[in-house]
């Protein structure tokens, strides 16, 4: 029976179009290749071989093994994690006082060898932390690389416990140490070396420059941020406590992403480190976070908190979302967009002072909660008014456009999607920056918004 096209189905719709082919997700960070850019960060999820293999089965492209150290292995406290919930959202921020692996080095190395044998295409990266002596680093690098792992990550970021012992962030906070230990490692390493940086510093660029100077093949950031999660108001002991006492831990999760994005973009745009491969870490929870890190210059991303919240399975949605976004942008490989947005993060002095936006409230969408009004009135520029405050009737807020400075606050507090939008207003003036303004003797700025104005008077009594 010859194949025959089915009779046309009359439903008045346009013809179907086939979905675009899957883009190539192969990632390369400093010479470490993985089938996709999603790695598990060095943390509890990568504590053992079986965990990592299960993660690979779900689709993770790589895993940075929970940091290996010298025997005898560390001892952990019980009660290790704390979290901040925000409204209905559990774990907006997460913190921990867990140390590096508490398993014997030989056990970890044996499992690493097994994992690599069974998953040759996935990236297995060994995170390492030993005292700052050449011999110690040489020993562990050699032993670790014998497992067949694909790369090393030097943990100069852990901010609790290990730092008190002169390791972790105690190294990452001193650029000279970063450079020195990187050099120790590069003397013997056969695989690419990433340096994991601590955000508990003043300027991340110094650490990145030191890593580069020490010969590192790339940097990974951010490690966790010093933090205390809170105090229990009934018992007045810290949240969380170990026999009544707390210690500062490392803060991570969705809340830290903007801090991480800033640091990634700083390294990506610093003339001294531009082009240094970056593995982005910090609050990556879904594909959109990953894309943001990559647009700002990361070659790949590492994930921990979201996995600790939901399990390894989330990589399936991350893969799907990334693929469909790349399709929508006609990207066929990661390099089509990695770093694309980095040049758009500039110094403040290079921003265009003649650019103007103002708020527009879509009255048809407004539900009249008047949060924009109070926010603007009390804390911004007093340009959103309501008839009821002007002697009239009604709560519907409106923008006094000539008073609006385009600060965004109203659109940020508005609960209704696309009800308040910030719209660009052509000023007709050429771009003009603070840099130009100061060079020009504080002249040449056109007043694109009202800088000096009387606060809007509202209230019937006034």
């Amino acid at each position: 029976m010859a194949p025959r096209k089915h009779s046309p189905i009359k439903h008045g719709r346009k013809p179907l179009k086939p979905i675009a082919p899957e883009p190539d997700l192969t990632a390369n960070c400093g010479g470490i290749k993985s089938p996709n850019p999603f790695w598990l960060a060095s943390a509890p999820p990568t504590n053992s071989g079986p965990q990592i293999m299960r993660a690979f089965d779900y689709g993770w492209g790589g895993a940075v093994w929970k940091t290996l150290g010298e025997d005898p292995a560390v001892i952990n406290v019980t009660s290790r994690y704390g979290a901040i919930d925000l409204g209905g959202q559990k774990i907006a921020g997460f913190n921990n006082v867990e140390l590096i692996t508490d398993r014997p080095l030989a056990d970890n190395l044996k499992e690493m060898y097994e994992v690599k044998k069974r998953y040759p295409k996935h990236a297995v990266i060994a995170s390492l932390m030993v005292p700052c002596e050449r011999k110690n680093w040489h020993d562990i690098v050699k032993r670790t690389e014998d497992t067949g792992c694909d790369g090393l990550e030097l943990n100069f970021g852990c901010p609790h416990g290990m730092s008190e012992r002169g390791m972790g962030s105690a190294v990452g906070q001193v650029p000279e140490y970063i450079k020195m230990v990187s050099e120790f490692v590069k003397e013997v390493a056969r695989t690419p070396v990433l340096v994991k940086l601590t955000p508990n510093i003043t300027d991340i660029r110094y650490g990145a420059r030191a890593a580069k100077a020490g010969g590192a093949d790339g940097v990974s950031l951010i490690n966790t941020i010093n933090s205390v999660m809170g105090v229990d108001l009934d018992t007045m002991v810290p949240k969380f406590a170990i026999d009544g006492y707390g210690a500062h831990g490392g803060y991570c999760g969705p809340a830290v992403k903007p801090i991480a994005l800033n640091m990634v973009s700083q390294i990506a745009t610093d003339p001294e480190t531009r082009g240094l491969p970056i593995s982005g870490i910090g609050g990556v929870s879904d594909w959109r976070d990953a894309v943001e890190f990559m647009l700002l210059g990361s070659s790949n991303v590492q994930v921990c908190t979201a996995v600790m919240h939901y399990g390894f399975r989330i990589v399936e949605d991350m893969r799907s979302g990334l693929i469909n976004w790349m399709r929508s942008q006609n990207f066929t490989k990661l390099d089509d967009f990695v770093g694309k947005t980095a040049p758009r993060i500039v110094e403040w002095k290079k921003l265009n002072l003649h650019h103007k936006t103002i708020a527009k409230i879509d009255a048809s969408k407004c539900i009249e909660c008047d949060l924009c009004h109070v926010a603007c009135q009390d804390t911004a520029h007093q340009c959103i008014v309501r008839p009821m405050d002007m002697g009239g009737k009604g709560r519907l807020p409106t923008v006094i456009e000539e008073d609006c400075v385009g600060c965004n606050l109203c659109s940020l507090v508005c609960p209704v999607e696309s009800c308040i939008t910030m719209e660009a207003v052509p000023t007709g003036h050429a771009p003009f920056t603070w840099e130009q303004y100061t060079k020009n003797g504080f002249k040449g700025y056109k007043e694109v918004y009202k800088r000096y104005h009387e606060p809007q008077k509202t209230g019937k009594k006034s």
């Binding site: 194949p3 719709r13 979905i19 949605d317």
Partner: protein
């Protein structure tokens, strides 16, 4: 407002004249979908997934909506259930996924899984994207008899496995009851058809208007194909078995609904009083739509009480909300009228020793101009036996192996209403999926390639096979 020209009375009515027949549950707006999806806890081994006969990974598709990947979300849904677009509208979610939401045991409303599912598949259909591709030619061909939910599901997976598929369908359009027999306010014909198109677009050869045993012999199909899937659904409606049943004005439920679905409003006069016999879900579709057509008085009559009615409770609520009247514990004894229906005579019944017996001298008449019989469809027992020679159970249902859906003929598999006597669209979709995999294995002697791992894992509803491998380490 511009001037409104009044419609001449002679002009035929359109669907626009019946607001009650238009989509009852509103679609979710993007913002609403984002907020609702953020409520989902993303349970592991979620009870909603277990409750769904097709085991769609619900937490995953909800997460995908929440992370602005509606196309990926629709793919997650349709991978597990090619009928996911219609199931999102017609599934008894209160009894399945939403009814098992962990929030039910807490202080929260369950996640609106049905509406979220609809949001995702609507985006896919709105963009007219075909996310699936036919599999590499497996060198085998299968016949699918019936383009209803089970047949379509089976055809979808067979095509994705690379098996050539020819579909034989008696009606002029695909979709089965989705296209012809579901309340208009739940699922419209174009919505059903766009769903079938996504399946048939994978290269199924469809023969419409072909009746087995009349236009083509079953034996010939079995001879010519490597495998046959039988998804023929149920047969004609049950008869009341009372005098006057054949008078004009007496309808069977499905043809009655079919006319509404066809928007053939001239063929379904509004009337003054409609009496529906039966109290199942189809009966509810009848009485609610009769009301929404504008019939002033609609009565649902059932031989038992409301506690025994087969319809789901929320369907009963729907009928009550439409101001339908109810007659409980009655059986029809005669349809009244000479040239057309003028009324119906009931007798009251009571239960004695598990049997319903008429109450003496309890007869009473209800004047009406339309009677709709919704007391179930007959299995195609005799017809099927004569046609196919397959083993049937005493109720006329095709006997199948529960795991493979294989019948007594080694080249024939069956699913849907023909094997279960009449269940949900989602059950039929699950059957089609299960049968497609066993057909593929039987005709090729091979296991499917790993790319099919996800949807195959949804047949039994187990987790990913790979995990076990790692755990054995």
């Amino acid at each position: 407002m511009g001037s409104v020209v009044p419609k001449p009375k002679s002009q035929p009515k359109t669907i626009a004249d019946f607001p009650g027949l238009q989509e009852m549950v509103p679609a979710m707006r993007k913002e609403e979908a984002r907020v609702e999806s953020s409520r989902c806890l993303t349970c592991f081994d979620a009870p909603c997934v277990t409750a769904c006969p097709t085991h769609i990974d619900i937490p995953r598709f909800i997460r995908q909506i929440n992370s602005a990947d509606p196309i990926g979300s629709a793919v997650t849904i349709l991978e597990a259930n090619p009928l996911g677009h219609s199931c999102a509208r017609v599934c008894p979610v209160e009894a399945l996924c939403e009814g098992s939401c962990v929030y039910m045991g807490w202080h929260e409303k369950p996640i609106q899984i049905g509406r979220l599912q609809r949001y995702a598949t609507d985006v896919l259909h709105g963009e007219r994207i075909q996310p699936f591709t036919p599999g590499k030619d497996a060198g085998k061909k299968a016949a699918v008899i019936g383009a209803g939910p089970s047949g379509l599901s089976c055809a979808a997976y067979l095509r994705r496995l690379g098996v050539a598929v020819t579909v034989f369908e008696a009606k002029p359009m695909p979709g089965g009851l989705n296209t012809y027999g579901i309340a208009e306010y739940k699922l419209s014909k174009p919505q059903s058809l766009e769903e079938t198109e996504l399946v048939l677009d994978l290269g199924a050869d469809v023969r419409f208007g072909v009746r087995i045993g009349k236009d083509i012999q079953f034996d010939k199909i079995v001879r010519e194909f490597d495998a046959v899937f039988l998804g023929v659904g149920l047969g004609a409606g049950q008869a009341l078995g009372v005098p006057g049943e054949h008078l004009p004005g007496v309808y069977e439920a499905l043809p009655f609904i079919e006319r509404i679905k066809a928007h053939d409003f001239s063929a379904i006069p509004t009337g003054s009083t409609t009496v529906c016999i039966g109290a199942g879900n189809t009966a509810v579709d009848v009485v609610t739509q009769a009301k929404r057509l504008g019939t002033p008085k609609v009565v649902m009559a059932y031989r038992r009480g409301p506690e025994d009615m087969p319809a789901y409770e929320y369907e009963y609520d729907l009928a009550k909300g439409d101001a339908v009247e109810f007659l409980w514990h009655v059986v029809p004894v005669q349809v009244l009228g000479t040239k057309a229906v003028t009324g119906i005579r009931f007798a009251r019944v009571t239960e004695k020793g598990g049997k319903l017996v008429p109450v003496p001298k309890s007869e009473f008449d209800v004047p009406c101009d339309r009677i709709v019989k919704a007391i179930g469809q007959k299995a195609q027992g005799d017809t099927l036996r004569a046609l196919s020679g397959l083993d049937l159970d005493p109720k006329g249902r095709v006997v199948v192996d529960a795991k493979t859906l294989a019948t007594s003929n080694k080249k024939v598999w069956a699913g849907g209403d023909a094997i279960n006597g009449g269940k949900e669209v989602v059950n039929a979709a699950a059957d089609g999926k299960r049968a497609a995999l066993s057909i593929y294995k039987a005709v090729t002697g091979r296991q499917p390639v790993p790319e099919h791992g996800y949807w195959i894992s949804t047949i039994e509803g187990r987790g990913k096979g790979g995990a076990a491998k790692a755990l054995s380490y």
